[in-house]
Subunit: 341 residues, 2 copies
Amino acid sequence: MRDATLRDVAARAGVSIRTVSNVVNGYAPVSDALRVKVEAALAELDYRPNLIARNLKQGRTGLLCLVVPELDVPYFAELARAVIASGREHGYAVLVDQTDADPDRERELLTRNSRLALFDGLILSPLTLSADDLRHRGNRTPIMLLGEHIFDGSFSHVAIDNVAAARDATTHLIGLGRRRIAAIGDQPYATGDTAQLRTAGYRQALERAGIPLDPALIRPTVHFHRRLGAAAALELMALPSPPDAIFCYNDLLALGAMRALTRAGIRVPEDVAVIGIDGIEEGEFSTPSLSTVVPDKQQIATLAVGGLVALIDGTTGPIPAPAEIRAGHTLLVRESTVARP
Amino acid sequence: MRDATLRDVAARAGVSIRTVSNVVNGYAPVSDALRVKVEAALAELDYRPNLIARNLKQGRTGLLCLVVPELDVPYFAELARAVIASGREHGYAVLVDQTDADPDRERELLTRNSRLALFDGLILSPLTLSADDLRHRGNRTPIMLLGEHIFDGSFSHVAIDNVAAARDATTHLIGLGRRRIAAIGDQPYATGDTAQLRTAGYRQALERAGIPLDPALIRPTVHFHRRLGAAAALELMALPSPPDAIFCYNDLLALGAMRALTRAGIRVPEDVAVIGIDGIEEGEFSTPSLSTVVPDKQQIATLAVGGLVALIDGTTGPIPAPAEIRAGHTLLVRESTVARP
DNA sequence: CAGTCTGTCTGCAACGATGCAGAGCTGCCA
DNA sequence: TGGCAGCTCTGCATCGTTGCAGACAGACTG
């Protein structure tokens, strides 16, 4: 059976459609007599408002969408939690979409007919999209970007200082007396912006400490999953002169590397110290627990949602200029770099 | 500036609204001359169809929503990937909502004005909802349930055989010669249905092996996170006669337990064997790697999405009866129960 | 040449809700 | 009694799109 509409309820109660709407929304005063009749009719017909129709009239849905490459990368799952919480504070429901790190899927989002046009705004963590893709996109939904990948000033953008984060991690290893420090996760090609910033921070730290750079110690990986971290760690240990510390560009790489090292009988941190970036909970419970640089996820979420809401409100007012917004990070030292006594 | 509408484009091109619509959608044949004019106008005005309006007219959005308690529980993140993939195969985009395991948030979903009414269907993994909550819900969006929590025959429902899964895990431990086998994760109260089924499977396995049940070895936990697994493991080891194996009701509990045991100098699996349920990737890279019972997530997703799509299509045809649908599971033996040689 | 068909194109109504302007009634005051 | 204000309530237009029925012109058939 078709859902009851305002028209059905109105007919049943013998009043106008408009009055039923008023009762439902409490917009205008309605006499008690009519209210009772209308409410009875509402109940009898089990009326439920059609949100699509309401949204069409009002021009908004109250929904935001967070788009991430992969939800089963814990960093994104933890970030999602924070974004959802921030969205609620602003009165928006946040839903999460996953692109599977697929360039076509990312581009599909920006299509003329993208179903995401139903959302009032998008928070997008792009992997392969270019600034051009964004500028020529087929819909006009306000967008806030996460991460360093795209930054050319045309879009607002929240990220930690990746150079500083990588520098902090590497400097920590140097402070422990390590000298052959490897890096896992470089991506020396167009879409590897974030990785390249981390490489830059790694190099800065070495340079400031006067440690010469050995290119053989920088291992690229096409993505940031455990498996590639494990493989890269083994490659590094097979070098003629293997590293005594490894800086991984995220925690998953680090956890994979630790697993491979431990299995190969190499002690972490005694033989090789390992550190990552992301501050995921998994690293607190690994053996050994993982030292890491923790991005302030709550701050990232707050800034991103706040900025996006300003953009959305701005569509009927002054539009805030695109801004590069920095979130904080902190070093978290655990057993993978400093063994417990 | 307001977005251009079909009306604007029609005025510009000097044709009817309907013809513009035909050009946009390719529904009816349009002569080349007109098509060129219309396409020029479309481009000049940068027309983008209003999806809300289109959806209102068509009565569907092509969106499904997967609702889970917590995305940063890896099982749900991995399941989400599978559900999203299955949704795409049926031509639906799947978005993910998280309730933070909050009963109020769960109930909010079923509200008359829930924003989820925008979706064509819901796949719901409920934690605290009762069958009554569902029956009296304020919207009529088709629903498919995941997990054992609610099952009274009024709703379709996909789950593994939790009793068998728990029995398989416990039997594996018994097969290793373990005799004092503990269980972490029981929830002996109304909303703990899944946990109770796993306890039942655990007891069945002991019974079949003729091992007496020691209630002191069953540790309840209010949720299934790493921290509580760690705490429960330590409590168990403090018993006068501690266990030689622990069956945890999910992998996170098991990973937490392993971490606590290792840190306390207790060897896994030599002193205590540990097994979980969920088959999350994290267990493949932990030290030691985690034995587990793996639910067939792809099958769960396929069955859930398939069933939901049938329900949705059924709203204009015969509605399939609510069914209890079983997905498979397999035992995966790794280092936490059988040490590598 | 009339009649029919085909291929284009159009106008109207509808999806289900809300914004707006005003109608009708009542009561009050001068 | 006339005029006005205030409270309810209503009808109409509208959001932007698509479904439907039909108009119209030109081509084809007999």
